[in-house]
């Protein structure tokens, strides 16, 4: 996985217990077109509290252009921003 740290638009599911789950996100591809990537599976979810800055880290798996890819999404709690952190 390569470090990207790109701000992205995300649709996420928050359940009644406060668990969150990214469903799909929008990404600009090489031709500057929007592509929507559906999150097929969340492999791991953990919270990172480094320096007191809370971030939810999701290691996810999706099928992109017929290829199974692993990537990391992050949600920064203080700013409510989503990042495609690594892909």
């Amino acid at each position: 996985m390569k470090l990207l740290r790109k701000s992205i638009e995300v649709i996420a599911w928050f359940d009644a217990d406060g668990n969150s789950k990214p469903m799909k996100f929008k990404l600009l591809n090489e031709e500057e077109e929007n592509t929507v990537i559906k999150v097929d599976k969340i492999v791991k979810r953990e919270i990172d509290k480094f320096a007191g800055n809370k971030m939810m880290k999701y290691t996810c798996e999706s099928c992109i252009n017929g290829e199974l890819k692993l990537f990391e999404l992050r949600y920064e709690m203080d700013t409510c921003k989503w990042y495609l952190f690594k892909m």
Binding site: L3, R5, K49, F50, A51, G52, N53, M55, D78, F85
Partner: protein, 421 residues
Amino acid sequence: MKPSGNNKVIMHIDVNSAYLSWQAVYELQQGSSVDLRELVAVIGGSIAERHGIILAKSIPAKKYGIQTGEVIWQAKQKCPDLVVVPPNYQLYMKASNALYELLKGYFPAIQRFSIDEFFLDYTGMEVHFGEPVEAAHAIKNRIKRELGFTVNVGVSSNKLLAKMAGELKKPDMVHTLWTHEIQTKMWPLPVGELYMVGRKTNKKLKELNIHTIEDLATADRKLLKDKLKSFGSLIWCYANGMEESPVVNGSYLPMKGMGNSSTIRFDVEDNKTAYKILLSLTESVGSRLREAGCCCSVISVSIRNAELQTYSHQRKIYSPTNVTNTIYKTVKELFDECWQGEKIRHLGVRVGELCSDKCIQYSFFDEGNLEKNRSLDQVIDTIREKHGKYSVVRGIFTDGEVSPILGGVGNDDYLMMSSIL
């Protein structure tokens, strides 16, 4: 393991190069590939604004002889490749709060001594978390694992010794300094390492041929008291490891006064500009005063000129006040009385002799529009609280030469270091 006589166990937690560690960890979290802690790096203000002093340094930077409080250009002479990162107080507050939250899981009484230092009372908690040293290791490692930065933990029987223990060797260590270890661990250190002994006291002690903490501890207490007054007695006690203050929950400190000061980007040569800066400092002091529910009876102004000489002037006023305009009027008078006309580099406004604002004795000499001014301040404070610090500013500041509210660290919740254990 524990000392006899005193069965208290106090811990002191100190974040290693706090600002720098927090910045480094934050940048790593944000995907940076370098760790500031491994570079010759410092956290420092901006040179262009003349706030150019070093606030924190990495351990490699220490090897170059770079010191906290030093001016950045001097440090750059020592190491031309020095990495200077501007401070981010909001982040530091966040990190400090996260550490506080973590510690709250263990301790009922936590004293926040400053943004990066905590005193904890471990007395009687062995049942829950084991021997003090083991527990200290566990806490230290958990902080490192969860929050990403390293701390030093000092374990002893009082706050002073715990603090001294924490300073022994850095980073990421646990040290004990029980009373029976004072002679071997603390006494050989230079006297300047002792808490409360700063540059000036160090110099005075040198004149008395006191160079190490042992020299101080074995010195004649009466001699010290004669030379340094009650402070001499205090540091003599400290050198002997005597200190008994309890761990106070929270960060409560009896406030004796408050003030704001600022180094100015340019040298001030006329009183008009100086007034403006004083006004902006008064604005922040006034609002802090009102927020604390206090009034002041003593107002003082300090001036540092381009030759770095500092002097100040103060006055007691007829009736206690917290009205910005009234304070400013006295500030102006004081400034006129003491300024010698030279170039000014740094200005400060301080207020003292605080009392509650609940009931104030007026005097004959008060201005007539006091109540109006008071409600004006109240309205301004409310607007600023609701819409931000700069939502209402005085017209005189619209040229942008001087910030409308000067002083402070830009964060109201920021915890300042104190000198009272």
